[in-house]
Structure formats: C-alpha cells, structure tokens
Symmetry: D2
Subunit: 406 residues, 4 copies
Amino acid sequence: MSDVKKVVLAYSGGLDTSVILKWLQDTYQCEVVTFTADIGQGEELEPARKKAEMFGVKQIFIDDLREEFVRDFVFPMFRANTIYEGEYLLGTSIARPLIAKRQIEIANQVGADAVSHGATGKGNDQVRFELGYYALKPDVKVVAPWREWDLLSREKLLTYAEKAGIPIDMKHKQGGAPYSMDANLLHISFEGRHLENPSAEAEEAMWRWTVSPEAAPDEAEYLDVEFERGDIVALNGQRMSPAQVLTELNRLGGKHGIGRLDLVENRYVGMKSRGCYETPGGTIMLRAHRAIESITLDREVAHLKDDLMPRYASLIYNGYWWAPERKALQVLIDHTQQTVNGWVRLKLYKGNVIVVSRDSKSNSLFDMNIATFDDDGGAYNQADAGGFIKLNALRMRIASRLNSKR
Amino acid sequence: MSDVKKVVLAYSGGLDTSVILKWLQDTYQCEVVTFTADIGQGEELEPARKKAEMFGVKQIFIDDLREEFVRDFVFPMFRANTIYEGEYLLGTSIARPLIAKRQIEIANQVGADAVSHGATGKGNDQVRFELGYYALKPDVKVVAPWREWDLLSREKLLTYAEKAGIPIDMKHKQGGAPYSMDANLLHISFEGRHLENPSAEAEEAMWRWTVSPEAAPDEAEYLDVEFERGDIVALNGQRMSPAQVLTELNRLGGKHGIGRLDLVENRYVGMKSRGCYETPGGTIMLRAHRAIESITLDREVAHLKDDLMPRYASLIYNGYWWAPERKALQVLIDHTQQTVNGWVRLKLYKGNVIVVSRDSKSNSLFDMNIATFDDDGGAYNQADAGGFIKLNALRMRIASRLNSKR
Amino acid sequence: MSDVKKVVLAYSGGLDTSVILKWLQDTYQCEVVTFTADIGQGEELEPARKKAEMFGVKQIFIDDLREEFVRDFVFPMFRANTIYEGEYLLGTSIARPLIAKRQIEIANQVGADAVSHGATGKGNDQVRFELGYYALKPDVKVVAPWREWDLLSREKLLTYAEKAGIPIDMKHKQGGAPYSMDANLLHISFEGRHLENPSAEAEEAMWRWTVSPEAAPDEAEYLDVEFERGDIVALNGQRMSPAQVLTELNRLGGKHGIGRLDLVENRYVGMKSRGCYETPGGTIMLRAHRAIESITLDREVAHLKDDLMPRYASLIYNGYWWAPERKALQVLIDHTQQTVNGWVRLKLYKGNVIVVSRDSKSNSLFDMNIATFDDDGGAYNQADAGGFIKLNALRMRIASRLNSKR
Amino acid sequence: MSDVKKVVLAYSGGLDTSVILKWLQDTYQCEVVTFTADIGQGEELEPARKKAEMFGVKQIFIDDLREEFVRDFVFPMFRANTIYEGEYLLGTSIARPLIAKRQIEIANQVGADAVSHGATGKGNDQVRFELGYYALKPDVKVVAPWREWDLLSREKLLTYAEKAGIPIDMKHKQGGAPYSMDANLLHISFEGRHLENPSAEAEEAMWRWTVSPEAAPDEAEYLDVEFERGDIVALNGQRMSPAQVLTELNRLGGKHGIGRLDLVENRYVGMKSRGCYETPGGTIMLRAHRAIESITLDREVAHLKDDLMPRYASLIYNGYWWAPERKALQVLIDHTQQTVNGWVRLKLYKGNVIVVSRDSKSNSLFDMNIATFDDDGGAYNQADAGGFIKLNALRMRIASRLNSKR
C-alpha cells in the first residue's frame, strides 16, 4: 500500500462512495478532497456537500459539467456515428474521461498526490478512469478501494457504514438496488444482480427514462433537426446549446419510448456482461446524423469513416479517450464534418425514429439531374458504364480465361 | 455492335423486358432464350411463359430459386451482419449474383454466346449482373439494351411496344409506376420518380409489404428464433427450410410494421440516389443474429467481423459476389459461425424488434460466476485489474513523463 | 468526338507527344497550348519549346516544379511510409497529380476548354491524369489520343510523324526504346517490350540511375539524416530544401547501388504488369523515416498508420490524390508527424540501407530506465505483468473452461 | 503464492533456468519436470539432461520440434507476409506458442498442475508463453519466477547459483553476456545491456549467424525457390522438408550477409525497446513469397491480405497465436494460398535479396497478350478506360460542380 497524503475522490454522495470516503481516511490517514460533478445524472448535488462536510472534508468541489460534457465529449463521439458491437451507444464510457480530467485538474490545484474512484475491479469504468488519470498525470497515485479492501460483500459494506455513522436508507437495508445504475445526460445504464441471467427478460419496472413503446403516445411527432459541422445546433428551428439539445432530445425520446437496449457486451477486462441502457436522445442523434451525412459526405469519405468506426468505438469503450490514437482519429473525423451542414426531418413514434426527409442548402451532394430515371439531358452518359464494368471485371475475366485454358 | 447468335435474357414478363425481347430479335436478328426466376418477388410466372411464346421464343426457362436464394446467398450474407452505409440490408444486391449465375448456366446449356438484362445504365444492377457474367464466363457477350438503344424516354418505349404488339396495361398508359420497384424474398425496393427529391417525405401509399407502425397490432408478439451455425433453423420451435424461415419472418415483420427504410445511398457508379426499402424478415434476422453472436462469439472474433463488415457489404453492394476477395472473406466469416448456435427471444411491436433474452446451451461464453456483482468465490481476481491498467497505460505515462521533463 | 477549341497538352517534346500535338491540330482543328514541366526527369526542356514553336504553338508553358513536387507531393506521401503491394514506392503515381493540377491552372488561365496527355489506354497514368482533371475542373474536356486514334502500332505512328515533318531520331528508326520509361525526381521506371516476360531477368544495361550493387564502392558510407515533422530537412548536418534533399539522396543512393526493384504489380485497370524501378533517394528516405518514427511515435499511433497505409497507397497508385478521402487520411497522417523530429544514422553499402542508430532530443519516447534489463529502481513493477496477462487471457480461459465442461 | 505440486519447466539448461529449477524446488517444495526443445537454436541438448538429473529431476523431456516448428508455425506465418512495425520478422514471437503447447501437453501427460518459464516481467515472452498456457489449459498455475523472486540483480542470481552448486561458466563470472539472446531456426535476437542506447551503433562482434555484407562473397549466387500452396517445397530443384528448407536458406543467407536488422520496437507491455535480429532464411522467404504471390494472387485478394497483415502480425507479436481471432485470420490466409504455386529466381549478394524472375505454370495470372505495349489484337479495348475513368470520377465531378455553383 502506497503512502497517500491527499486524495481527490470522485464522490457521488451515495452509500458506496461515502464508505470509500471514510475508508480512505481510516486506511490511509490522508486528507480527502471530494469532487462531485453534474453531468446530467439528474440527482441533487447539495446533499453530497453536506455529507462530505460531515466527514470533515475541507475542500469540496461541485461542478456543473453538462455543457462541457456534451460539447467536448458526446458531440465529437457522435460525429463518428459511434456504436460499440453493433448496438451500444457508449453512454457510460464517454463520461469517464471528463470526470478523470476534472479530478486531475483539481488534484493539481489542491496539491493532491492521489485520486480515487468507486468503480469495481471487474468492470470497464476502473480502466476508463485510470487510463485518464495516468495519461494526464503519469505519476499520480491511484486508489481503487474495490480492488483493495475486504468489503466485497454487501453485508460487510453495510456493517462498515453503520460503524462509521453513514446514513443507510431503506433501499439498502432491504437488500440494495436490484441493479447497478449509472446515469448522465447521454444515458442511464442497468447492470448486475437481477440482470445477471441473459436468458431472462428484464422487468418493465426497471426502465426509468423512457416509457415503453406500448405506453408512448398513439400519435407520431415530427422533429426537425439542424446540423452545423456535424453537430446539432437547433431543434424545430430553435437554436440551443449542446446540453440543451441533448436534454430536449431526451425528453422527446423518453416520451416516445425511444432508445431502450438490452445487450450482452464484451468488457475490456475479458468477460461478457449483460447491460440494459436507455439512450433516448442519443438514439435520435445517431439516426439524424447518419441521415445528414448521407447527402453531405462523399461516398469514399463516408466509407472510410465506417471502416474506422468500430476501432474508434473500441477505443472509447476501453477508456482510451486521452490516448494519442483516439486524438489522431478525431482529427480525421472532425475534418470530414466541415461539410456536414443541413437539416433532417424525423418522425418519432412508439420506439421508432424514422427519417422522412433531409436536405442541405450549402453542402448537398445529391444531384437530381444525374439521379433521375427520366431523361437527364446528357448529364450522365450511360455508355460509360460499359467500360467501367469491363475494366472492373478484367482481373476476373483474365483469371477465368487462364483457368479454363489449363 | 457485336455479332450475337443466341442470347439468354433475364425476362420478367413485364413491359420493359418484353420490349427488350423484341428489340433483341429486331436489332441482333438473334435467337432469344428467356429465363424467368421465382426468387420470391411474389408475381405469377406463367404469364411470362405465354408472352415469351408469343414472341416465338423456343427455349423458355422458368425456375423456382427461392430455397437456393436464401440458403446460398441471403443466409451467408447475414452471417456477417451485413449493412451498407449503416442502414441498407442489400436486398436487391444479393439477388443479382444468383440470377447471373443461372443465366450463365443456361447459356452454357443451350449454347448461347450472349446474355442480356433489363437494368439501366445508371444503376448498380447492371454492374452486379455483368460482373457475375464475366466472372463465370469471361468471353460471354453482354447486351445491355438500356445502354445501347435510343428508347430512353417513356414515350419512345411505349411507341416501340405498341408497334411490336406488346400489351400495355393501364398503369403504363397513365404514366407508368410512380416508382421503379424490385422485389425478392428479402425485400422490395422503391426508387426514382416520386422519390427523386430527398427532402420530400415518401407517400404512405407506396409501401407494399409492411403496414405502417401506426396500423400494426396494438399488442406485441413474442418470437423465438433458433440458430445453427449462424443460420436460423426454427421459429417458435418449428423447424423450417431457409425460404420458409424468411417467408414467415416477412409475414411477421410485415404484420408488425417492421423493416421500412428511407435512405440516400451512394451508388457504385458514382451518384447519390434515394431509395425506400421494406425488409421485414431481414430486419428481424439481423437483430436476432447479433444477439446470438453476443453470447457465442469471442470478443476479438466479433470485433474482427465488425471491422471487416463494411468492406464485405461494399463488395456485395458493388456486385463482387463472385470475386475471389468476397469468397476469401466468406471463408473467414463462415469459420466463425461454427459456435453460433442457440436461441433468441424477440418482441415484435409496431416497427420495433426488441431482443429480450438469449441463450446457448452448447456454446454460450457468458459466465455468470465471473460476471456477477456479488461475491464470485475467487473466480476473478480483482487485483489483476491493477496490473492490466498499469501496463495498458504505460506508453501514455512514459510519453507524459518525458514531455513534462522537457 | 467532342468539339474542342483550345487544349492544354502535357508535352514532353519527345516523339509521341509531338505526334499528339500535330494530331490534335489536325483532328480537332483546335489551338494547342503546350505545358512542359521540370519535375526532375533530368532532360533539357528548351528543345520542347523549339519543337512547340515549330508547330505554331503560341502559348508555351515551361515550369520548374521540382520544389513543389517534393515538398507538396513526395514528402507528404513518405510521411505515411507508403508502399504499394509491399514493394513499390509509387514514383510515377505521385507525379501525375501535380502535372494535372498545373495543366488545369493553365487551362483556366488561357481559357482552354480541354486538356490532353500522352498516356495509353492500358495503363494507370491515364487514370491518374484524368481523375485529377475532373476533380479540379469537372467539365473540362479530356482528349486521350491513345484511346481515340488508330496509330496503335509503331509503324503507323512513325509514318504519321514522317508526314508531319516531326524529326525522328535514330533510336526510333531502329525500333524504338526497348522499354517505356518515365522519370522524375523520385524515380525512373521501365515497363513493356523487353520486360513483358516476367520469367526473364532484366538486362543490366537497362538501369540508368543506379550502379549495380556489384559495381558500387567497396567501402560503406555513413549518412546522417535529420527530420522535422516527418520531413528530411538536413543531410550530414547541412540544411537543404526538399528538392535538394531528394537530389542529394538520389546521388548517394545511385552511387551505392540502392533502390532497384523488379516487380509484377496489379494495375488499377485490371491487369498485371511487370515494372522495373530505380528509386535511390526514396529507398533511403523510407528506411530513415521508419527509423525516426520508431522512437518518436506512440505504438498505437504507429500501428494505426500501418493499418491505413495500404489503403493510402492504393489511393495514390489509383490516382485519387485529389479525392476527399485521400485528403482526410492526409490530415490524420500529418497530425501524427508533429512529434517526428530527430536524426537517424544510416550506412549505405552496395544496395543496403542500414539503420545503425537514431535519437530525438525533443521527442524520443524511448525510456532507458524502463527498458533496461538491469535493476530499474522500481520504474516498472514486474508484478503488474501478471494481472495484465491474466485479464488479456480471460476470454480464452472462460471459453476453454466452458468447452471442457460440456 | 499458490500451492504447486508438480510443475513443467521450459528448461534450456543454461544458468538462468537452472537457478529457476532449483528455486522452484526450494520455494514451492514441488516436483519439477523439465522440458527442453530443439527448435533449431543450435545448442546441444544433452547437457540439459545431465543438469536436470543433477537436480534430481525424474521426468525429463527433450524433443526435436524443428519440423513442427517450421511446418505449423513459421510457414503459416510467412503465408501472410508477416512483418511487425514494417521491419521485424517475428522470429522470437513465433516460437513461443509451440513451446507453450508442448509444455501443456507434457503437463497433461505427467499430471502436473503448473508450468513455469524463464522470461522476465518486462518483456513480451512472458505474455506469449502464458497466453498459450491459459488458452490451452485454463486452470493451470503459472509460475513466473522473474516476477516473483528477489533475484533481480545479476549478483544475487550468481550468489544463489553458487549456493545451489550450479556450475557458473567464465562468461557469467565476468559480467555475463553483453546481450540477452534468443535463437531458433528462424532467427537469433539480441537485446538489452550494450544495446540499451538506441543512438549507439551495435558492435560488429555481436552478430552470429550472418557475415557482414562487407565480408560476404564478392560474387552473387542465384537461387531458385519453388512454392506449393504458399510454402517453399524445393530449393534449386531439390525437394526438402520445411526444416531443411529453412536450414538451407539460413546457410545461404548467412553466407551472403542477409537478414540483419537493428530496430526500436514497441513491446506489448508498453515500452519501446531496441532489438537486433538476424533472420537470414526468413528474409529470403519473405521476398520470394511476395514475388510468387505477385503473379498468382488476384489483386483484391492480395490487397485484402495486405490490409489484414499488420493486425495478424500484432496478434503474433503479442502472443495471441492460440486465440480464435488469429485462427480465423489464418483460415482466410490459408484459403488464399491454394493458387500460390510456382517458382521465383533470386540473386543473393552482400545483404541483398534480389528478385530477378518468377513464373507459375499452373496459376499465373499474368496475361502477356493483355499487358503488351504492342498491338494486342483486341484483347483489351482501350476505349473502355474512358468510361471507367468517367464513372470513377463522377462523385468528384458532382461535388466540384455543385460547389462551384454555390
């Protein structure tokens, strides 16, 4: 166990991180600085301040990071149409690098030599936090209590909390939440416990941010989405900030039963796990972004992006946001978005996000004169296709001929 | 214009290919052999025979290729989770190689020196047909009337038909179909004319195979899908042949408003075009296949497949089914499917295909002992994660340290 | 045949392009503007002027493009360690986009509606020229005489030249060059005729820029190469311009028998062809660039570049320099070169380019403290490797365990 | 420290693994089984037996694995033209999976619960060994003494050896070898100590298997290499087994100064390290294999292989030989080699491997009729190229036109 003088803890104010706070003080005899961020998880932050004060914490940081989160993390990721393993929109993954960055900034500011977080030793989040810490402050000490302590069972944890005078609410006394949850402005996730058997359907009561498609309105709702350089800047004609955009899309998606996902995914640490996710706004954004790219991006640029996307997604899933290879890919992705300007019209209805039309005054590459089935007045010479096909077939023809000769 | 003695025409029996039949006879003074295939387009084939006879065709081939189509083309493609440009399930693309192959078989059988098709000079289908022809019979002559003749306007075509005594039905007299359509067991597509403006919503009346999500049943329906080696072999416990599977999935998908798509895509010949597609069964298959792979495929194998998928999709879209690089990829893909056995439960509801559970008795890689949030009895040593993270971070730490020293 | 008023011809002054000049005047009755560039091919340009004047050409452009060629084309390409099909350094391919660009600039300046070049209809160069023309001036008319005229045999060409009063030197009278050659500051290439049989060794007399390894000096020569942002800026301590760098490397490489290559390559138009190349300076550059990257690039960034390189190479080989996907890749590549600063020491000896040492004061990522086999004082904790391996093995262990249970 | 009953040690008979043997007996009080393999490292194996007996080892395995090594590991890897980071031929990496496999076979045979190796905690070899162990026997215990013991300095190790009565030869008394070496039939490697400064040239005295190019014969030597399905089966017309092929190529390469490499590479554990390698036979094989592929592989298949190669190389370098994704790639690679039959003629001279000619009676795709610069009698229609270029340029023309309109 390394010597720790002052540690910045990512502190939610909940039971687990409160136990960690106390455990850090007890175990390392060190000063604890708490950091609590609003990234749109939808919880009050002031109780965290009070609890921290209760433990004698002197330096308490509470930051509203919602705009930075969406502008500098969520939007850049969506420019790449990022999906992990064909389904997952990376809602948890994308928040961790921001937390890590802010924790390190605070550590530098208050002269802390260590940072700590509440992620377990089995999941991806520990990796995402710690790769961020190490990339930004290579000699920082990292304390990951779940990998160190012996409070691995629920009972031990509650006993420790009781002794430490940490308030335990009813939910925990009665066996704790049926799932491990994580929320931010992009999504809410559910993992573990009741979900551990992937052959059993998740309970309807689990879902929080979205109504079920069945319970959604019987009438569809149209939505106009406007893009500038690949980012959404207005909804239904009203300009909004990034966090406002995502907040409003979450409201609309949630209302229409959009963005639920039940998935078995492959963790970076090597196991399969089952997760359920609600990403109402993100699901709308992804569909809309593909639609605006469909008329504004060159074919080969779009295909290059598609070819690189799974790699970019894995980098984010695995926690490499601050790695140089993620940044290099981002430079390419951002470069391609210069022309991604225009609007998309969507229809939202009972779980469906339906693209019905799209256009770009400044950057459409759709040429009706050429695409038309009717007479195009010579814009396209059909005879060209003959040579195009002949030469594209040439290597196969040569092979086939030589083979048949032999 | 090359000298043609005997040509095998891909003949639907419709107006356009009837004009082509006559035009081939008139222009090349050659014998025409017709070939009409049932690939699930849902049209009567016997009228095609009668029309061909009317034109004096002596050798008429009418084949039911539905099982071969699904077994040897659709299923192999779905093993790769194939999607073109993030959305399109390649319904048209995957039928062309089969038509081309059968046409060449017939040409060899009847001693024809040429083949012909009714695809225009602007689209992808000409490429898909002809790359197939050339790969399988390198010295075959290809007659693509739309690239040769001067009947490019609707009026000229109708005039020619009238003179030739080809029956013209009401629809054509009144201006023709509002869209160009293509159907097979996997999908029906709509392109052109009324759809040429991508900023205008498609008319509800266009859609044929699916009800709208609004018109779909108010009650969800569960569906159990069983896989062997990556292919669906049973639905709701009932074993079926490949074509039966897809037929039944189309029925279910169509009933629940599943599988509509409105897209701007990039054609191989270089232009953007707008297409609308109904792929009810395919949409269900893709979702189910990803779900069964999620518990039966190794992570890195799954990621390798994801990385290669866009390339594989482009090969099929562009018409390279018979090319050696497609076959090489298929060998890899098929190899990975040995373990893709098990079942998936889906919920179908108003346009949604929702995965609710999945399992594999023989090949699940999901290990509850390890994944559990509760005490795992030492199955996984959380301390291992520390070293894992430290070494994965090492290159970034070294870089960061060296930079800060300088 | 389209109507041409004024055409800018890429004119070398040699027999073939002189025949083309006359043929354009005869066939299109149009004004011809000649453009002759010095891209380091090592030939006098003034004779081209005189010949052009002889044909009544009024607007004659002769430009020294050597610095632009190396700075804006060769160097950017080498930043990617570009090799086509494992061997070829793309010497011809990289010059064509510059010629095309300058031709279009001139066309715009003189108000020409067409451009013309002397590349045949079988090779890659026609594609490289014309993709450039069309990308930069989409409605330009392109005249490719070798695809249009009937002078396909040597005899017909000479007869036409004689009639036109074009001087024919001895070489051509005696049957023409035994190879088709192309040269610029990066390389000289040989194709065709005597080389058409890939099972026969090329004659020693063919090679022009390099001595044979056997004839090279018996003593090795050391060379210090200095890089800034991925480009060579100094040799043996002496700062030089880009073209000077390449000129000097060609001298050194040629002297030491470096950079010969005898290859069968796959052309974009679909056939295999055999080419012989001398790229003395380029061969040295590539080796040196990899060496400087080896200590200044992050591992994953280097691997990302390696993964993308074959695609980038194909784009250049196929003529897509001016395409948006090449530019997008270049943005990524250039971004990575910010840290590629330092020096490499090479030993040149009889065909060998041997890297013997390398360092970077500002950007080395080589950390001796960590790499050492001796005691590192705790810089690296060997125990971390245990966890690293355990988690990387986890998915295979789970699979193996589950399989053995069944 | 886990409880070990019986451990199979990869035992070279050298000082380090002898200390390990004794340390395992002392520390774990367990039975040690030794396994010594001949993989072409060129050392006597019987001394290892005697030493093992001296320590009371009862079960001693000494196997000649040379043919299996080349046939099942080296040759499959060369089918992919595998190179790591543009330079390294993976000589060490490819031997480890075989050792691991045989160790596990022995463990199963003798009922051992553990395996052990002598690789340090900083290098790649520990990973390669252990990933193999875990993949093949998921619950095996792995003892990696270098990560456990406190003998990290040379002095401590020698003291331990002395006490244990392990014979210490002069070399070690005088400070040990100036490099860490590893040899097998594919290569010999040098790392560490004198090589730790990448800005200093390696000493000529270091190299073992090759003469320097300067010291190589003044006369070139021709070599004919014959391939079947991508593997070399004969040299100069004489059929040989895989190990014989590689032995003879090593002799020829070594004689002609071929295959030296001085490299800074990126280790999987996160640091850069400098290595020097001699791979005489492998260097010849790679060049010859590319040459035979150049006339027997389809272009797109070859490009697919090139695109996948860096990934395949990283898998082997990182130790994932036994992973399912390596096997999936191998299936693809091996499939492509069916047509890779024919011969290549090479010229070996002072460090150079020069391809001078190549042919394949059964599988050449080189078509002289089409490639010729002379009249081809219509085999290729040059006019086709016009359409080919026009359609390939279309997307750029459309973009350029639309941009200039706006």
